[in-house]
Amino acid sequence: MNVRITVNGNTTQVPRGISLAGALYLLKERSFRITPRGGEPRSLFCGMGVCYDCVVKVDGRANIRACKTEVRDNMQVLTQEGEADLEDFA
């Protein structure tokens, strides 16, 4: 059983029940975000929702921890550049 998710514009199928972090690793998308200060790539680190390094933009909302989010059908995922934007929440 699979779900369809779109990551940075590319739609693929991934197994139901896995975390978004797992899905991104499966899809070899290992850079989840670019940091605001140094412009450096970050990815999964602690895997348990504590470090907030694995955050991506999910369905328009930024700073969502990929390791704590289960994949859902039609999930739209964008890797994040810099900070979240308050205007996105409006």
Binding site: E83, A84, L86, E87
Partner: protein
């Protein structure tokens, strides 16, 4: 002349810097108590807004009306402006910031994130608020301060993320913001470059006297001799003064702040104030929401109800904030005084002791001129501002009610 300044917050560090730049030998002793007001401040520089009671003062007034605070202030029909001299004092102090910013960057390498062009926008929610802001504007009319009345459309044009459920606003273009933590850090580093000694993590345990004169301070790291003692201990000023048998009416007034994640910069264009809370976006991108006003001794716990109230107020003003992540909260102990004026300068009873405290809600914006006033007193120079109303001895023959809870 050895000067000891006790308290490394906004006032203490700026005083140290001003005295060091004048060639004085200064030792700054600081104990980083939890709740230090400066590090709990949002850094708004709102001389006009605060002076007429629409900055942090509105929330102050709201809690007064609800009975959670008991300070003798005028009537209760709306926030009252403080005497005009106070606004003049704050406006004059605010003028020091551009030059101070430059000097500090030059000496310390730190830019204290002083902004101009942000302005303070007070948002009016209902007719009641519109009535009393009108009376405040009438009061302001006779001065030459720059204040604008904005329609709801103008408010939203300048601040698109603000709620449309408002009746307009009052805009103070000269009221802006700074980073209070960097201000302190920069002053301390600049001062040490200019010869000052910085003694952190050190608590003053006693003051040594010879008759009426202070001779030094005892600390948990030894004794420091001094020819002049400056009390910049903020909420702890009264405790310090007590060590030489003197009472000054300074008491802690707790306030809380919520801090969001860093958000893309300049999504909020102004500093905002409402009857629920104030909202500022700092240079780093974090949005600060504050602040409550409570009297509860030196307790720095953050009551859940207060956080909920601040968050609700922020969401009401900027609905998009509902989805912003709150990262931390903290509380600070503002040094309150019975008449809301600072306490600066000498006292008859102690010839070589000087107050530099009582900044209450305006300690940051008042810091530069407060420091100049205190320095002028110490060095026997002409006063840069009529500071008679700020002397501690104004309380000498008055019965003062210090709120305890």
């Amino acid at each position: 002349m050895n000067i000891v300044v006790v308290g490394g917050g906004a006032i203490g560090s700026v005083v140290t810097y001003v005295l060091s730049s004048r060639g004085c030998k200064v030792t700054l002793i600081d104990k980083d108590f939890p709740g230090k007001a400066t590090s709990a401040s949002a850094g708004g520089l709102w001389p006009v807004g605060e002076a007429i009671g629409l900055g942090c003062g509105v929330i102050f007034h709201a809690s007064q009306k609800s009975g959670s605070i008991d300070i003798s202030v005028a009537d209760s029909s709306g926030p009252q402006p403080l005497p005009r001299i106070f606004m003049d004092f704050l406006v004059e102090s605010n003028r020091y910031f551009p030059k101070l910013t430059e000097e500090l960057e030059h000496h310390s390498g730190i830019h204290i994130e002083t902004e101009t062009g942000t302005g303070l926008l007070y948002v009016i929610y209902d007719e009641n608020e519109r009535r009393y802001t009108q009376s405040l504007l009438d009061w302001l009319d006779s001065s030459d301060t720059d204040v604008e009345e904005w329609s709801p459309a103008q408010v939203n044009e300048r601040e698109p993320l603000l709620t449309r459920d408002q009746l307009g606003g009052i805009y103070f273009p000269g009221d802006n913001q700074v980073n209070p933590m960097l201000l302190v850090d920069a002053c301390i580093r600049a001062s040490t470059k200019l010869g000052a000694e910085y003694v952190p993590n050190t608590e003053v345990t006693g003051i040594t006297m010879a008759g009426d004169l202070v001779t030094g301070v005892d600390t948990d790291r030894g004794h420091f001799q001094c020819d002049v003692l400056v009390n910049a201990a903020g909420a702890w000023s009264a405790k310090l003064a007590q060590m030489m048998g003197i009472n000054i009416p300074v008491f802690p007034v707790r306030g809380q702040i919520l801090c969001t994640e860093a958000l893309r910069n300049q999504t909020l264009n102004c500093n905002l104030s409402t009857s629920d809370c104030y909202i500022l976006q700092k240079a780093h991108g974090e949005i600060l929401i504050g602040s409550t006003t409570e009297i509860n001794g030196f307790d720095v716990e953050v009551p859940l109800e207060n956080l909920i109230g601040l968050a609700a107020g922020a969401k009401r003003a900027i609905p998009a904030l509902e989805y912003a992540t709150v990262k931390r909260s903290w509380s600070g102990l503002r040094p309150g005084t019975p008449d809301e004026f600072p306490i600066l300068g000498p006292m008859d009873a102690r010839p070589n002791y000087f107050n530099a405290t009582g900044g209450f809600r305006t300690g940051i914006v008042a810091a530069p001129l407060s420091a100049e006033i205190v320095a002028a007193h110490i060095l026997g120079e002409p006063q840069p501002f009529d500071s008679e109303p700020f002397l501690a001895d104004r309380f000498k023959n008055i019965e003062v009610n210090i709120p305890t809870s």
